[in-house]
Symmetry: C2
Subunit: 268 residues, 2 copies
Amino acid sequence: MTDTHPFDEAIQLDTVGADTRRGRTHPEWANMVGPFGGITAAAMLRAVETHPERIGEPLALTVNYAAPIADGDFDLTLRAARTNRTNQHWIVELSQNGEVKTTATAIYAVRRESWADTESRPPSAPAPEQVPAVDPGLVRWTGLYDMRFVEGAMPGKDGDPSPSSTTTLWARDGAGRPIDYPALAALCDIFYPRVFLRRGGFIPSGTISLTTYFHADRHQLDALDNDFVLATAHANRFSGGYSDQSAQVWSRDGGLLATTHQIVYFKG
Amino acid sequence: MTDTHPFDEAIQLDTVGADTRRGRTHPEWANMVGPFGGITAAAMLRAVETHPERIGEPLALTVNYAAPIADGDFDLTLRAARTNRTNQHWIVELSQNGEVKTTATAIYAVRRESWADTESRPPSAPAPEQVPAVDPGLVRWTGLYDMRFVEGAMPGKDGDPSPSSTTTLWARDGAGRPIDYPALAALCDIFYPRVFLRRGGFIPSGTISLTTYFHADRHQLDALDNDFVLATAHANRFSGGYSDQSAQVWSRDGGLLATTHQIVYFKG
């Protein structure tokens, strides 16, 4: 792993105190306003990974996007609110000039042998090699992924409304960086807003809170290397200027890597 | 609403400082270990409701169950990490004797007129009046609800494994208390662990983190009064001693009140 890949550059953190890390926004990860939410989630998870008191692997991450992150440096403060024998509860805050921009809670846990079953099934999709790569454009960070839409590609200007909010796509890092937990955290936010699809065009909108449950253990992630994952998302309800999204990220061989949910505001 | 109902007693908080509230566990809400997770979620939401700086209504709540809450008093400390024009980001911590037992983030928001659609559909179910009330027992708090299982009732001792983790039930407060946001937060945790159903019996398990998205506005909640809601839950993957759960809570007339997700540990 080199530091020259944009993903590693964007989550590179300096230790400026026992419980403080400093990062900086990266121009290639720019979203409509501030950075891509997925790269912020990845940086917050990375901050916990760098802490010497951390135990286990990521199990759950909730990131609350409280205010736009301005271009430049940001500070991450982290605290293990509670450490148990097999799990640990972190509170992380991202601030700029003393203003809180993002808050998060992260649960790290030790995985052990147990009864296991994947009850959900991946959506049916042709192999990624049979689907053309498309950059939805609109924002800069999408160019860093290889995205291949199987269903529900982003509508263009004056597109038609769709009765379904479902998008399914194959996605991988465009430069072939292997998938680790921060990369998986970012992939969980790869979907454009569901309201675009339903309304058939661009609607001002943004994620307010994102929760991800990591099902993959480190062995399963290592086996992925830099392969495509199959990501699928849908919304349940739009009302009052807000909507939810539920999504899943699958490996090519049918492993459910993560389930992830978010609440989104929209104007229109 | 009287303070003599167990739900109101359990979420009654005393103001002991500008940003501190004191509550106490209630014997009728006892779970296997500590109180029912739903009543703890309700108390944390209630704490924000009591804060004079609070704006809007609940939009998202994540509660992390870090350690068992002992019988007796607990303190809730709360802080608005960020207040915007139309939303507010809270961090809440529950502690006993200086030890953190539960952490939460809550997002309050102002709802406004927007395009609206409910894309999900409720599960089909007979009217609650046609389904017998059953108390699953095992823990004390279930006796405070009127539960009517349509699918996936709790297996008894030496029950059969089920290929599906889906449970659907009608539920309402047994004493007819109307549904407000704290009550809806509690209802989102009404399901027994999905692993019981898949394995056909009792398995030591517990919620680690619970996230709820509130879709209902206050008007929709008021219209419910104390009617039954239709609650449905399923798991996606069990592995490494953990599983997720995704659930929905519907009104009788097909309104999607909340979508809610959790990650659960289990032994076995």
